[in-house]
């Protein structure tokens, strides 16, 4: 096979080609602005995360055990993060020394929500009670266990934030509504248990009930927002919190790509493997099986294949070959701000050399085999079963992904 690169986009297209307006650009020069790219990649990552969670459901069948394990891992990971990097957040979020107690953690959660395309509004922010309502959440398809775990990561951030100043009241964070459970909103209410007594609960039971349900401010459907502040005109396209932190979409992207839903899953699995609760080979086997099937389902319907061509701007006369799959992966990588190079892009094969750090970020090594399995499933229905996506010649720093026809009697 040749390493020829057909006439296509310049290899360095994308944000750097448009210095004033970041965008992603397909190999057929179809462009999408930053907002659409963010929407696309957050949902892409959510679907990927939903598949991973299905694998975890097979590996840990009991709901309570699974949810507790996820919550504990999320709490521990975020508490450690808060201890290591929290002081930076104090300055960024303008937390003052007199803001004593765990309520300061709500500021951290609020900023993260908006950056991760989860728009909404803070309804209460006080020492003994906080309330945040989200109208949209790209992660609402992943599973209720994740909703519980995200709440516990906020709980951990709050604990860490409180420990950086003089002692103050603790808060019990609960996600009393969750879009991942079918509710209209996600709603976090944090209450101090001395002021608002409720029975103690294990970590995973982080959905409430709460003591101050009558204080909830419920935004009706017609007043809900779809975009975070950084994409809304009435906000001057800036996130602004109550303590005067202002951020543009550039910061939103940074937070987004660093915090995919898998950040909750892979570290938890790694811990279970280290503790001997799960077998590494079995974990990878199950995840690959689920992800390959999930990838196949993505383009199983004929209209989905056509929509993919439309999304990528593939000309009508262009044939169905590996370039379509390659272009699909490129769009995701660009939106994720993951560096890559095109080694080959022709009717016979596509080779993408991907920056390993950019794809795996802080999610660990499992991210790559899972993504490759996902893409390998996709190419079967997007292009044809003759095509495969697989790793070949990867290094510690680079993931070399090849898309080509081959025959595998054990696939």
């Amino acid at each position: 096979m040749t390493k020829k690169i057909d006439q296509r986009l310049p290899q360095d297209s994308g944000a750097t080609k448009l210095p004033c307006y970041a965008a992603i650009k397909s190999p057929w020069e179809k462009m999408y602005g930053f907002r659409e790219a963010m929407r696309y990649v957050t949902r892409y990552e959510a679907v990927f995360g939903a598949s991973i969670l299905q694998g975890i459901r097979i590996l840990i069948p009991d709901y309570e055990e699974r949810a507790q394990t996820l919550c504990q891992a999320a709490f521990d990971r975020m508490y450690e993060t808060a201890q290591k990097y929290g002081i930076t957040q104090d300055y960024l979020l303008n937390m003052h020394p007199f803001m004593c107690g765990e309520f300061t953690g709500a500021l951290i959660g609020d900023e993260g929500d908006d950056a991760m395309m989860m728009p909404g509004r803070v309804q209460d922010f006080g020492t003994y009670r906080c309330e945040k309502e989200l109208d949209a959440c790209p992660w609402d398809i992943i599973g209720s266990e994740l909703c519980r775990a995200t709440t516990m990561s906020l709980q951990a951030q709050s604990k860490g934030a409180a420990e950086r100043r003089r002692e103050g009241p603790s808060l019990d964070y609960a996600m009393v509504e969750a879009r991942g459970c079918g509710d209209r909103h996600c709603r976090i209410v944090a209450e101090n248990r001395e002021k608002y007594p409720m029975p103690e609960h294990p970590l995973w039971q982080s959905f409430g009930p709460i003591a101050t349900a009558d204080m909830i401010k419920f935004t009706p459907e017609e007043e809900c927002v779809e975009d975070p502040m950084v994409f809304r005109e009435e906000c001057d396209f800036r996130f602004a919190n109550g303590t005067n932190l202002e951020e543009t979409s550039e910061m939103a992207a940074m937070v987004q790509f660093a915090t995919s839903s898998c950040l909750y899953f892979f570290p938890m699995l790694t811990r279970c493997i280290a503790e001997g609760k799960l077998d590494e080979k079995m974990v990878l086997h199950v995840l690959k099986c689920v992800l390959e099937a999930s990838g196949k389902a993505a383009f199983g319907e004929p209209y989905a294949r056509l929509a993919a061509r439309e999304w990528l701007g593939v000309p009508v006369e262009a044939p169905w070959d590996g370039r379509i799959m390659g272009g699909h992966i490129e769009m995701m990588l660009q939106a994720l701000m993951c560096a890559y190079e095109v080694e080959a892009f022709n009717k016979d094969e596509v080779i993408l050399v991907i920056d390993r750090k950019g794809l795996e970020i802080s999610n660990g090594w499992m991210q790559t085999p899972c993504h490759v399995a996902y893409w390998n499933g996709m190419v079967k229905t997007l292009v044809s079963p003759q095509w495969f996506v697989f790793e070949e010649g990867s290094t510690d720093k680079q993931i070399r992904v090849r898309i080509c026809k081959k025959i595998d009697k054990f696939c």
Binding site: P97, V122, C235, T243
Partner: protein
């Protein structure tokens, strides 16, 4: 639904009213920037629109800090000591960057000392009694916006007569970080003797108490200029300062907006305000958006919802009755203690 988070909260009410009726005390440590050097006075006089050069040792002065567009990026209290200044700020990282950007040839050094000091606010009609019971030297003669060295049970403190509550009598007790526990215990015991109580709720110390007095906190001032928010009165136009050229244009043309007060009599309301983040609830007059709600809290003194609207200049007048998100609001001056 929408049960008022302030009105029915006995704890918030008690903490708030302790300040209004007897004495309330609380840890209220802001970040502190220490500024020193031969050129410190001239430098700060350039950085702030209000007069700093005329500030005498032992006295304080409130001032805004502006960007080149004349927008407020901080409002601070400058405290002058014999050989240095303290600036009480809520945005030390912005201030550090801004000072660095304008330092030029000024012989000045500045650094944050927030970790070295804590501050307790002791506020309310009985605050002087509390301080006199605690301090080695009486504070009777201490004037507003003045500070002196003193001691409490042998522990060195700085007593500053100032506050963020609108109370005529109010003090700030600065102590070294290592003495914080001891000072906290002594203030608590003394305050109890005079019927006081500790304020623990952030919403009371940062929102309800200052708002009743018409004071601003953080987001209220963001992207405003001093003319729009009534803070242009003490600007020294005879000197050069950062943002002067832009602010002179505002002075000539008149401000585009103004901060007005409003009340809502209905108890259980749902109105978004910028203090929580976001754009704030839109305020319409005859179908046209004329402003956004900056702040919405509760006046325990007047027993009503109260707040601020940043509105187009001249569109809203005291006594106007408007609709905000389905709730009837009345425009008024933004001071509920007057």
């Amino acid at each position: 639904m929408y049960r008022n988070i302030f009105k029915y909260d006995d704890m918030k009410r008690a903490e708030h009213m302790a300040v209004r009726e007897s004495v309330g005390w609380y840890l209220f440590t802001h970040q502190l920037m220490q500024v020193e050097g031969e050129g410190a006075e001239a430098f700060l006089d350039y950085m702030f629109p209000n007069n700093i050069a005329t500030l005498r040792p032992g006295r304080d002065r409130y001032t805004t800090m502006l960007d080149q567009q004349g927008e407020i990026i901080d409002d601070v209290v400058v405290m002058r000591f014999d050989d240095h200044f303290w600036i009480s700020t809520l945005f030390p990282s912005y201030m550090d960057d801004w000072f660095y950007a304008h330092q030029g040839d000024y012989d000045v050094d500045y650094y944050e000392v927030s970790d070295d000091w804590h501050m307790f606010a002791v506020q309310g009609p009985r605050s002087k009694d509390v301080l006199n019971a605690l301090c080695a030297e009486p504070v009777d003669d201490l004037r507003f916006f003045a500070h002196v060295e003193n001691s409490i049970d042998g522990i060195d403190v700085i007593i500053n007569r100032a506050g963020f509550t609108g109370e005529k009598l109010g003090y700030e007790v600065y102590c070294a970080e290592g003495d914080t526990d001891a000072i906290e215990e002594k203030i608590g015991a003394a305050a109890e003797q005079f019927g006081g109580r500790r304020v623990t709720e952030f919403q009371v110390m940062a929102w309800t108490l200052p708002t009743e007095a018409g004071f601003y906190y953080m987001r209220d001032l963001r992207h405003t200029n001093p003319f729009e928010v009534g803070l242009a009165g003490n600007i020294n136009w005879d000197k050069d300062f950062v943002g002067k050229a832009a602010l002179e244009r505002v002075r000539e043309e008149g401000p585009a907006r103004e901060m007005v007060g409003f009340t809502v009599a209905e108890s259980d309301i749902f109105i978004q305000a910028k203090q929580y983040g976001g754009p704030g609830e839109a305020v319409y007059l005859d179908g046209e958006e004329v402003g956004r709600v900056s702040k919405l809290v509760y006046s325990y003194v007047r027993d009503t919802n109260c707040g601020y609207i940043l509105a187009k200049k001249g569109t809203l007048h005291a006594g106007d009755v408007i609709d905000i998100h389905g709730f009837e609001a009345v425009i008024c001056p933004k001071n509920w203690l007057a």
